[in-house]
């Protein structure tokens, strides 16, 4: 929720003028809500190392510093469209604390399993050849969700192997629902060092 980016940026912007800093905080939180999820998804599905977007006087830059980060991003995506600040897990079966701040959320997510989630509300069709133990790569399509006859792709959020299926073929699924568990392999970087919040989501005030 918007609390997180606001809290995170309080150190960055000078609080000398309350009205201005309020506006700044609003702008930052809007940026975080509207822009970051899309950017993170884009970064995940591309081979790019860094993305920067400018909007008005603001600049948001996302950087993929190390391989370790891939696992982090997977965690974020596994919990609903890579909304790093949202702090709630996908799927109704798995409610988590909605007021969790970024740090807590990150800690919580690291412990929770990673899943490929539904991109929309509709009927789920897994890829025919999908089987447990199969090795998959980040961004790989492992099924579709049929929304009024239009298929939306179910993508793997992180390199790993296919684990338990959480939804049947032909089952009605909701947006963000966990569909297939993705187990990390030994080759996947161990998710231990940095929390999600440090996914270099540097929202910096840009004068340039």
């Amino acid at each position: 929720m918007p609390d997180d980016p606001r809290a995170a940026t309080r150190d960055i912007s000078p609080d000398d003028d309350p009205a201005r800093s309020r506006r700044d905080h609003q702008a930052i939180s809007q940026l975080a809500d509207d822009l970051l999820p899309a950017l993170i998804a884009k970064l995940a599905s591309s081979g790019l190392g860094e993305i920067e977007v400018r909007e008005g006087g603001w600049r948001a830059r996302l950087r993929k510093p190390a391989a370790a980060d891939v696992a982090r991003r997977g965690v974020a995506r596994g919990t609903g469209e890579g909304h790093p600040a949202s702090g709630h897990s996908a799927g109704r079966a798995q409610p988590t604390s909605r007021s969790a701040r970024a740090g807590e959320a990150a800690a919580e997510q690291e412990a929770s399993p990673i899943s490929a989630t539904s991109p929309a509300v509709g009927i789920y069709h897994p890829r025919r050849d999908l089987s447990e133990g199969m090795r998959v790569r980040t961004g790989e399509k492992i099924g579709t969700v049929d929304v009024l006859g239009v298929n939306q792709d179910v993508l793997v959020p992180v390199d790993g192997v296919i684990g338990t299926s959480l939804a049947e073929a032909g089952e009605a699924v909701e947006y963000g629902q966990d569909l297939v568990r993705i187990e990390l392999t030994e080759r996947s970087p161990a998710p231990a060092t940095e929390p999600v919040g440090e996914l270099e989501a540097a929202v910096a005030r840009g004068n340039a």
């Binding site: 929720m1 918007p2 939180s29 809500d33 509207d34 999820p37 609903g80 469209e81 909304h83 949202s86 709630h88 109704r92 409610p95 909605r98 007021s99 929309a120 509300v121 509709g122 009927i123 929304v147 009024l148 239009v150 009605a172 699924v173 909701e174 947006y175 963000g176 629902q177």
Partner: protein
């Protein structure tokens, strides 16, 4: 009757529709966005389904997501509430194409009444007086010509607009020249349609609206009127019924003409005809709202009719089951819109966690709200936290009950406009029933805010 209805909205109205479904014995599924996972409607519903992310364009405004949710949960109808997809004729059409029923006017009726300008002409031809105005403005020269004809001041309005958005008051030809292009690009940006029209601006007017219900068979009743003159920048804050601005004879005449006109024009389902009433008491038709309105509870308090249930029955093809003589409006009701806005900080909308919440009670008090202690008010949507409605056998009693209830109402953790309501209630202009739509903007809210903060 339907077997199961998808509720494609949020906040208090999702809860209101859920209650109507349960009363009717109809199943209901609450469709919610990720930001509303913890909403009261989603929690209270027997069934709820996440249709998309917080961004309304990908959830509450996404026709494919909403319809897909209805289909996969086995619903046979969709209730759009107000706002979002509630008056979208293309959506209503697609809903029908998927074998579902849109709870509201049928698509072709929505289409007929989609353009405000065409609706004014249509209902004007069926006996309603309209404000002198233009047709669609071709260009700036045409706008100047039309403004000259109807006389300044004029108000420029986007044809596709609503809720006061994108309107511009212009007092001189020079102002019009300065404003026209901006208004056009604003309309394009806000509504995807840059069509504009203008009409004569009536200073010191009151906003009075007539509630009608028309079934598929052309049987119709009106349920009296509501006065929504307490506004700030065209946004309603307090509504009441009956209107203090109309005599009984004028009220009866206006309501009768309104219901005759909509039946003649082929309207169906619930509808609200909005009128501007000038200082002489003359009522000019402005627009029709083809949906359940935020302020419908005050009509329910006076008539005893469950309007959402009625709306659902009409959509299901049932006859109205009411004649005009069955609709008896008793007493006086007032609604206070409780908003997450800070009156001392230019009404900046707020969000945050509700740390404490206590709804008022007592005789003639109704609170429609989705709040609960611990609820996180999301920042993505409108600022309506709930509607406090009071009823009394007469206006003075309703005001006294309003004052008592507002004092009891407790919302902590989020800044609200509760104190502003109390200040307005205590103001002589309101007590005398003389508030005009421009009052708060003309005198500014500062005196009220000052009174409120004491």
């Amino acid at each position: 009757m339907f077997s199961k209805i998808l509720i494609a909205n949020r906040g208090e109205i999702a809860l209101r529709i859920l209650r109507a479904c349960r009363t009717l014995g109809v199943g209901a599924v609450v469709a919610y966005s990720e930001a509303d996972r913890e909403s009261l409607a989603a929690q209270l519903a027997d069934e709820a389904i996440c249709i998309g992310p917080a961004d309304a364009r990908r959830s509450y405004l996404s026709a494919p997501s909403v319809i897909s949710a209805a289909i996969v949960t086995g619903c046979d109808a969709i209730h759009p509430g107000y706002g979002f997809l509630s008056e979208d004729e293309a959506f209503a059409d697609v809903v029908r194409a998927h074998g579902l029923t849109f709870i509201g006017p049928p698509a072709e009726v929505l289409e007929r009444f989609a353009s405000k300008e065409a609706t004014r002409r249509l209902l004007g031809s069926h006996g309603l007086a309209t404000i002198p105005g233009s047709g669609m403005l071709r260009d700036e020269a045409h706008a100047l010509e039309e403004a000259e004809r109807v006389g300044y001041p004029v108000i420029i309005k986007p044809s596709a607009g609503g809720g006061g958005k994108g309107m511009r008051l212009v007092r001189t030809a020079r102002e019009l020249e300065d404003t026209f292009k901006v208004a056009r690009s604003e309309a394009k940006a806000a509504f995807g349609d840059d069509a504009l029209y203008l009409e004569k601006f009536i200073d010191d007017n009151r906003h009075v609206e007539v509630q009608v219900a028309v079934d598929r068979f052309g049987h119709a009743v009106h349920m009296g009127e509501r006065d929504c003159s307490v506004q700030r920048r065209h946004q309603k804050i307090i509504e009441e019924t009956p209107s203090p601005a109309l005599s009984d004879a004028a009220r009866e005449d206006l309501c009768q003409r309104a219901v005759r006109a909509v039946v003649a024009a082929g309207y169906e389902n619930l509808g609200t005809l909005e009128f501007l009433v000038d200082s002489k008491g003359d009522a000019y038709f402005i627009e029709i709202n083809c949906r359940i309105q935020v302020e419908h509870p005050i009509t329910e308090l006076c008539t005893g009719i469950d309007m959402v249930a009625l709306q659902i029955k009409i959509a299901a093809g049932e006859p109205l089951g009411l004649s005009q003589s069955d609709v008896v409006s008793r007493g006086h009701a007032i609604e206070f819109r409780i908003l997450a806005e800070d009156p001392t900080k230019d009404f900046r909308p707020g969000s945050g966690q509700v740390s404490a919440y206590l709804a008022p009670g007592g005789v003639g008090v109704r609170m429609d709200s989705h709040l609960y202690p611990g609820y996180e008010v999301p920042s993505y949507y409108d600022s309506l936290l709930g509607k406090l409605c009071v009823w009394g056998p007469d206006r003075a009693t309703a005001i006294a009950r309003g004052e008592t209830a507002l004092r009891e109402l407790l919302v902590d953790g989020v800044t609200t406009n509760i104190e502003l309501h109390r200040a307005i209630l205590a103001n002589k202009v309101f007590v005398d029933g003389r508030v005009t739509t421009n009052l708060l903007d003309r005198v500014g809210t500062a005196p009220f805010v000052a009174a409120a903060s004491r």
